[in-house]
């Protein structure tokens, strides 16, 4: 590692993938622009390329041009005014920095974003990035249904009682959703379910979609249950914020209540986690360069993260959910 004030040297190394933590209520386009403008701001404050030298030939006599007199000429080299930063504008502008997101988060969602910068854009086009399973934690609140899907936005559509909902009801509905999606995954992967190809894909476990058609949920489980709120953890691909909002609405109906979303957080993309992400306070050149180095290491170990499901399925009070279900049946 080398310390430098030279912006052009830094620019050469400003290429790769960076892992950001997007705050809620900021669009992804604004995030991208903020990163670019912070990078430019920091680069322009460093030692940038000096103006190109301009060769001036002057005669000793001030009012006579050099070619019209036979007296001595003086050659002067001055920095060119045409190349002065105050004339041309800053050396580094946002339009020159290329950025490309792996996936998008909605306006009110927060969480991990993978952004490829300059050369990293080509890396990001790689299909393996798009097939890294993403983990979301969705907060759900029972009791009210709104037309927007968020708990504090839009008009209240309906209210329903919720005190009767037990945790095992949520886990049952989620398990069924998860199982139903494994079947849809065949269509999105472009194979007929009765072919040998489909059989081999199915043996491998999780089937990755080839198109950006529909969302595929690989795992859906209940994390925290404290009425009227509960949190579910979803491992998905091809998801959108709208999909989660309508899924939560449907979940509310299946639970004989009404539900809205309180939060959507992307907490993992493949083996990129929250611990690798840059918070918005650290969106500057130094931190981004450090993060790029970290991400390049993670990219080499590029793999799907598989949740540790060996532990018992316990609900909030510590009881085994399966035992509870057996007792209720």
């Amino acid at each position: 590692m080398k310390l430098t004030r030279d912006a052009s040297l830094v620019w050469k190394h400003l290429t790769g993938i960076v892992c950001l933590y997007k705050p809620p209520r900021k669009s992804v386009a604004v995030v991208k622009h903020t990163i670019k403008s912070h990078l430019c701001r920091d680069l322009n404050q460093m030692k940038v390329r000096p103006p190109t030298p301009y060769i001036m030939i002057e005669s000793e006599l001030k009012d006579v041009p050099a070619e019209k007199t036979k007296s001595k000429s003086v050659i002067k080299v001055i920095p060119s005014y045409a190349d002065n930063v105050l004339v041309t504008g800053p050396r580094y502008v946002t339009e020159e920095i290329r950025g490309r997101m792996v996936h998008e988060l909605g306006y009110r969602s927060s969480g991990l974003l993978l952004l490829g910068i300059n050369g990293g854009c080509n890396e990001v086009k790689n299909k393996t990035f798009h097939q890294l399973v993403r983990c979301y934690q969705v907060g759900v609140r029972l009791g009210l249904e709104t037309d927007s899907g968020w708990f504090d936005e839009g008009r209240g559509k309906a209210k329903a009682s919720f005190k009767h909902v037990p945790p095992h009801a949520v886990t049952t509905v989620l398990a069924s959703m998860q199982a139903a999606h494994t079947k849809c995954a065949f269509d999105l992967a472009g194979v007929l379910p009765d072919s040998q190809e489909a059989y081999e894909l199915a043996l491998q476990g999780a089937i990755k979609p080839k198109t950006t058609g529909g969302c595929v949920i690989y795992s859906a489980r209940l994390l925290d249950f404290r009425l009227p709120d509960f949190t579910i953890e979803l491992h998905t691909l091809n998801e959108t914020e709208d999909y989660f909002l309508s899924m939560v609405e449907l979940l509310g109906i299946k639970l004989r209540s009404a539900a809205t979303t309180t939060s959507i957080k992307c907490v993992q993309i493949g083996n990129f986690g929250v611990e690798h992400a840059l918070s918005s306070a650290d969106w500057d050149l130094q931190h981004i360069l450090k993060n790029m180095k970290l991400c390049s290491k993670l990219v080499k170990e590029n793999s799907d993260i598989v949740p540790n499901l060996d532990e018992e399925r316990l609900d909030v009070t510590g009881r085994n959910i399966y035992q509870d279900k057996a007792a209720n049946n």
Binding site: K159, A160, H164, S176, T182, L203
Partner: protein, 460 residues
């Protein structure tokens, strides 16, 4: 002031619209909102859905509609005279009969279905489908005009006391067995009806007996002075297990399916010996001419047709007396399912082992397996993301296909897709297990030849 009862109804409509109507209602609700813009949330009335009832059951059915065995009248009736194409329900459909009657058990035969209903009246068994041999009882609308085809469930008049329960149902090609218990779990008597040309109804064969429009219901009170705890039907034979774990059979035996040591018809239940001599049999099953039985310690026995190597006895096409089948590496067997040309067993760990001929679950390239082979668990929902605790708890088979139910209530089907009986949404054969999309937790499923029925409980 709008009465709250009307508001509650409106809320109900609001929440239960389907997807196509949602957009239409969305536009209407925007123009005519239920509550004005400035209504605070506190003023919106709170709706309380009906209380969840863990005893509520949903009934789903799918497959060929032509013979009415699915029991959904709307699907089975022709729209017009020109509508001659056969109709298949390729996806599970809710049977409304199950919403108005508490269906506790279902059995699918060859083109007909039996439903056991929990009720205080004596009409505890209903049936639908083909009735050419009175397998669903005597049904008629006019005097002396028995109906040969029922397109919706109808009650079967049986000599059952209102305080008795129907413990089990079994349906074969053209006959039905109903196990009726006085006390739960103590075993009881079996009522048989339908075709008796091979003696499968456990009564003596009468030459020239007319089964169409027959009101005959035979009762088997007990076997060897013990009550009967379990019944099963093959194609044209019947199997009974009494409280002591002894197996009895009657019916057609030319392929050895009665297991009585000799071929031929048998018109009264006789004790099946052979390798079952001193064994406590827990379950026996058959759908064609091959039979399997398991003992209480998980040992497997088989007899009957073995033309496709279903009984793992080399070169024997028919086995007339039960033999013990060794399954190396499988362990104690918990459930069994027999198809026409294949067999499947489920062991304690929830693994399914199949062998025989057909689409056994190993992809389209494998159609014959001579030694038991395990179906990869990843195909039955155990992928890296799935809950490791969820395992298969029961398996069923029709003549050409197989079904498995997991502890989570997922139903997987695979095999030859005869008339859409797999319920996967198309008419293509499915060479490995695929989950059937049913919006409920499947408790019990029954496989017929070209249709299936499932008793489910709602998610919550």
């Amino acid at each position: 002031m709008i009465p709250t009862s009307i508001l509650r109804v409106s809320n109900n409509c609001l929440l239960q619209v389907n997807n196509c109507a949602k957009r239409h209602y969305g536009r209407i609700m925007k123009r005519f909102p239920l509550y004005p813009d400035d209504t605070p949330i506190e003023k919106i009335p709170e709706y309380a859905f009906s209380k969840p009832d863990k005893d509520r059951r949903h009934l789903f059915s799918w497959g060929l509609c032509e013979h009415g065995a699915v029991g959904i009248l709307r699907q089975c009736t022709k729209r017009s005279k020109k509508d001659t194409a056969p109709r298949y329900l390729q996806r599970p459909c809710r049977v409304r009969f199950g919403d108005f009657n508490r269906v506790i058990d279902v059995a699918c035969g060859f083109g007909f279905t039996l439903y056991a209903v929990s009720t205080k009246s004596s009409l505890k068994v209903f049936g639908t489908g083909i009735n050419t041999d009175s397998q669903i009882g005597y049904q008629s609308q006019r005097k002396d005009a028995p109906m040969e085809l029922l397109l919706a469930p109808v009650p079967i008049r049986l000599p059952i006391d209102p305080h008795e329960n129907v413990a089990a149902l079994a349906a074969g090609r053209a006959h039905s067995l109903i196990l009726v218990e006085r006390e739960k779990g103590k075993g009881g008597r079996v009522l048989t009806l339908g075709n008796n040309s091979y003696g499968q109804c456990a009564r003596p064969i009468e030459e020239g007996e007319e089964f169409n429009g027959s009101k005959m219901v035979h009762c088997v009170e007990g076997l060897e002075a013990e009550a009967i705890k379990s019944v099963a039907c093959g194609q044209d034979h019947s199997l009974f297990i009494n409280n002591r774990g002894h197996l009895f059979s009657c019916g057609w035996g030319d392929d050895g399916q009665t297991g009585l040591g000799v071929p031929g018809k048998k018109g009264s239940p006789s004790r099946v010996r052979g390798a079952l001599e001193n064994v406590n049999i827990v379950k026996a099953t058959s759908s064609g001419d091959c039979n399997l039985a398991i003992s209480d310690n998980g040992a497997l026995y088989g007899w009957g047709n073995s033309e496709y190597g279903q009984l793992l006895q080399d070169h024997a096409a028919q086995i007339y007396s039960p033999v013990k089948i060794n399954l190396p590496g499988v362990g104690p067997v918990v459930d069994i399912a027999v198809g026409g040309s294949f067999c499947a067993v489920l062991n304690e760990k929830g693994q399914i082992w199949t062998w025989g001929f057909g689409l056994l679950g190993f992809g389209p390239n494998v159609t014959q397996v001579s030694r038991p082979q395990m179906i990869p668990e990843a195909l039955l929902g155990k992928s890296s993301f799935a809950w490791k605790k969820s395992k298969v708890v029961s398996i069923e088979a029709g003549l050409f296909h197989l079904a498995a139910v997991t502890a989570d209530g997922d139903l997987f089907t695979w095999g030859r897709n005869k008339d859409g009986c797999l319920g996967l949404g198309n008419l293509r054969d499915q060479p490995f297990p695929l989950r059937v999309s049913i919006g409920a937790t499947v408790l019990k499923v029954s496989c017929g030849v070209d249709h299936m029925a499932a008793v489910c409980s709602p998610f919550y």
